[in-house]
């Protein structure tokens, strides 16, 4: 009988069944996608750990002879034993052990050690790898959060879906309270009613769950592909190969089934506990407990506005998920777009545009001092290279006396605003940082020419500029002379041991810096930068020291160079010096592309999250409107019976749809304006500059997508509602 009843209901109420099926499909899709992505992240992590640390599970440190190795190999659970050549240092060998059953690694390894007579301190475990299989050594105190995080996110996703989709089931079930009242009045027990509803839910959801899970697998495959594309060429990252395990599918199906079962069980339980009297009296109509006014809607749209306002208030609970999801999705999307636009402008202005004509290729020569780097001339000799400067930075100190300070600097208080960490007052004046930038000789001479002084290698050029520290606007700083620039020598001091000094001649005080990808006086406004030729540096290196580890080569190729040419040139430079030095190199165009890709990637991830939120909200609107015919036909029949025309009812629908879709937009706009205003203020950016690139199109598209889909949901609801036969609804309660 239940079978007949349920199949009859499903057949005759495809629209409300459809909303349940859509809800089940979306849940299955999202959960399957989530688990698919998690599985691949897990797989990727294991690959990364194996690549970086190795795939061993435990390791014994110390010399082991052939017999010992044979003993380990003969251990039942041991799969393989490898002497780790890489790990061998200071005469201590490492023996990596691989087990058949990883689960016993924590008990088997001490046993092996005992058999070999090795103390337990010599045992090492690959904790990071073992944690990926949920094998935790109590001694490993590092937080291994990947699994708890997966479980937490999956749990939150499942709970969120329950909150969202239970409403679809509730709408479909509540529409039949009256019928279940009849069942109850002729003796159906609450359990029988509950079972009927749950069987019905199961029948409706089987196909969508399977389809959703398969789509989720495809979506996770697509997402991994997109992530691979976005992260292409990123340092320290290997290509993720999509994989899927039958257990993941089983877990996904189980999780979906549990999520849907709880979602269906909640309203089914509530409905089955109603007394027959309550159920029979229930018409399934939207009810307001208290009279509530909608002055704005009434004012703008008259009676239809008031009716729409009341209906929305009566549906408040059912539409809560939609309201919150749409609001948060639009708010998050708008703020995210604004933030990335602002960040993009900022990065472009402060980095890419600023260094546009400063560098094309940068090579970092690791652990090498500039005075011992011998390849500069060769690089400078490459015909395609316009300029190549080899340089290194070193830390030094210098004392600036009261007499030396420029009048401009005195006018804003001299060192009175300097922090203790940057400037120290001493007997002779103020001890400040004097970073030294050591240039190869040829480049230094070129620099001298650039600033218009007689080229020479016997002195330093001092960058004599200081920012107006009273103006925090880093985007539009005001510079002024730091020192008077009258001294013909400068006494540099060793950083940390300021008694040791070296006096060097000053060729010039200037406001121009060499063309390098470097920033000066950004953190410590009071530093006095010295540019030195490498030949002079060799003379004072012993006293000053303080060199940073690496030497850099900043190169400019021909103007309007293409990415292909730059890649080729980069390869040529690496080939020239790579054999003798440990180098890392980057080129500007590829870095710009990488930066764009990273921003795109982040925007895709955050955007997907916003779209997901919006889909949840829109799904909620759809599930509500698809249940309209049953839930609201009496309401509309009553309106029609008192003379409301179908056009007026349509207007009411439009007002409801508009209110649902426009409300998140109206709430978001002022919040977005205030947030963007704050971000502009904090980054000292002109509003006009931001407005010229404001993300109006994506935000507009997102807004229209919300409006469009809500309108579509209401259009479908309206189309179903139009089929009502007024006379039948008002006369015949068997339709209830």
């Amino acid at each position: 009988m239940w079978k007949d009843y349920s199949s009859g209901y499903i057949k005759n109420n495809r629209s409300s069944g459809m909303s349940v099926m859509i809800a089940a499909f979306i849940s299955a899709l999202l959960l399957s996608l989530l688990l698919g992505v998690f599985y691949n992240l897990w797989k990727y992590e294991i690959e990364r750990i194996k690549e970086e640390e190795g795939g061993w599970q435990s390791r014994i440190v110390g010399e082991l002879d052939k017999d010992d190795i044979a003993v380990i190999k003969s251990f039942a659970n041991v799969k393989d034993v490898v002497i780790n050549e890489k790990g061998t240092k200071e005469q201590e060998a490492m023996t990596d052990i691989y087990f058949d059953d990883m689960g016993d690694v924590l008990s088997d390894t001490p046993q092996i050690a005992r058999m070999l007579g090795v103390s337990s301190e010599k045992i090492m475990y690959n904790h990071e790898l073992l944690a990926m299989y949920m094998i935790r050594d109590p001694k490993d105190t590092a937080p291994r959060l990947i699994f708890p995080l997966f479980i937490l996110i999956t749990g939150i996703a499942s709970l969120s879906l329950i909150i969202v989709i239970h409403n679809s089931f509730a709408v479909s079930m509540n529409a039949r309270i009256h019928q279940f009242g009849i069942f109850s009045s002729i003796g159906a027990t609450p359990k029988q009613i509950r079972s009927c509803l749950l069987q019905e839910a199961a029948a409706l959801c089987i196909l969508p769950v399977l389809a959703g899970n398969l789509s989720g697998i495809l979506a996770s495959m697509g997402l991994i592909h997109i992530l691979n594309r976005l992260a292409e060429g990123m340092e320290g990252r290997h290509e993720s190969v999509f994989g899927y395990h039958p257990l993941v599918l089983a877990a996904s199906l189980l999780l979906t089934a549990v999520t849907i079962w709880i979602s269906a069980w909640m309203p089914a339980r509530k409905l089955s506990r109603l007394t027959p009297l309550e159920a029979i009296k229930n018409t399934g109509e939207l009810q307001l407990k208290r009279r509530k006014k909608s002055p704005l809607l009434t004012c703008f749209f008259g009676m239809e506005g008031e009716l729409a306002g009341s209906a929305l208030k009566a549906q408040k609970k059912a539409l809560r998920t939609a309201s919150l999801s749409l609001l948060f999705s639009f708010l998050a999307f708008t703020i995210m777009q604004s933030f990335f636009t602002l960040s993009n402008i900022s990065t472009r202005e402060t980095y890419f545009e600023r260094y546009q004509d400063v560098w094309d290729i940068m090579v970092t020569v690791k652990d090498t001092d500039v005075d011992s780097f011998n390849e500069t001339e060769k690089i400078q000799g490459i015909p395609e290279i316009r300029s190549a400067i080899a340089y290194q930075r070193a830390e030094a100190k210098r004392i600036i006396s009261e007499d030396e300070i420029s009048e401009d600097m005195k006018s804003f208080g001299g060192f009175s605003q300097a922090g203790q960490q940057d400037v120290k007052e001493t007997k002779g004046g103020w001890l400040v940082n004097a970073p030294v930038v050591i240039l190869d000789d040829a480049s230094f001479l070129a620099y001298c020419e650039q600033i218009g002084i007689t080229p020479g290698l016997d002195g330093a050029v001092i960058w004599n500029q200081i920012r107006d520290v009273t103006n925090p606007d880093f985007r539009h700083p005001k510079y002024m002379p730091y020192v008077k620039g009258e001294n013909s020598t400068s006494i540099l001091r060793q950083s940390g041991n300021e008694e040791i000094t070296a006096e060097i001649p000053v060729l010039c005080y200037t406001d121009k810096v060499p063309v390098l990808r470097e920033e000066y006086a950004t953190l410590d406004y009071y530093e006095l930068v010295h540019f030195l030729p490498v030949s002079l540096w060799k003379e004072i290196k012993g006293q000053i020291g303080g060199c940073r580890e690496d030497t850099f080569i900043c190169m400019l190729a021909r103007e309007n160079v293409t990415l292909g040419e730059l890649d080729a040139l980069q390869g040529q430079v690496e080939g020239l010096i790579g054999g003798n030095y440990h180098t890392e190199s980057e080129n500007r165009i590829r870095k710009t592309e990488m930066n764009d890709k990273q921003i795109q990637g982040m925007m895709t991830i955050f955007g997907s999250f916003c779209v997901l939120l919006a889909v949840i909200g829109i799904g909620n609107v759809f599930s509500n409107t698809l249940g309209f015919v049953r839930q609201r036909k009496r309401e509309f029949a009553r309106y029609m019976s008192v003379g409301m025309t179908p056009e007026e009812i349509r207007k009411m629908f439009c007002i409801e749809a508009l209110t649902i879709a426009v409300r998140p937009i109206l709430i978001t706009l002022p919040i977005a304006v205030v947030t963007v205003g704050y971000m502009l203020k904090a980054s000292y950016m002109e509003a006009g500059e931001f407005l010229a690139e404001a993300p109006l199109i994506p935000v507009g598209v997102f807004m229209l997508a919300i409006l469009g889909t809500v309108a579509l949901a209401y259009y479908i609801g309206w189309r179903n509602m139009r089929r009502i036969n007024l006379a039948e609804v008002l006369r015949d309660d068997t339709m209830m």
Binding site: D4, Y5, G187, A188, R273, D733, T734
Partner: protein, 226 residues
Amino acid sequence: MNILTCEEVRKVYGSGSNQMAALDRINLTVEKGEFVAVVGASGSGKSTLLHILGSVDKPTSGKVTIDGTDLSKLNQTQAAIFRRRKVGLVYQFYNLIPTLTVEKNILMPLALDKKKPNKEYFDKVVGSLGIEGRLQALPSQLSGGQQQRVAIARSLIYRPALLLADEPTGNLDQKNSREIIDMLKLSNRSLEQTIVLITHDEKVALEADRIITIEDGRIINDEGRR
């Protein structure tokens, strides 16, 4: 033999100063095979009485016993099973399941108990109610009178101890009303079915063996006509 006993039954709605007694100390007995009509004006408490007798609602105080079962001691599940087996309910608006055929609507109480129908009894009931030719139709394909006959057939299919009918002719024309009353009388006579009929129509009430008049929740008259 008493099939129904009500002792000091009260039903109060609301609380505090809003309290309203729908039934006030009702004492009533109905013997097996009796056809009792309960009459009263709208709001007198007759539907409340019917709901309490049908274990659809519970009294605020007092005791109701039907066929030896004290209704106040039943939980929700027990009350449902009691309704299924001991009480047949007929409403003014039929309350048929629109998606099930006439036959399945009638057999529903048995199906809930996973019981097979007695073919002979089923044929007798549908035959006497004149719906044997419409068993495969859906309720929406029947007239109001036919729908009410289906509802009566459903209420009789379990051979309940008590058939409770709430204004069963309230939604029907004169001809159909006459036929429904005749059928109730027929089931009362031929099947010895105990019937409690709620109505505000005096003509309908006059067809019963006994008329109980309720006013403001109290029985003000109890008159046997046999």
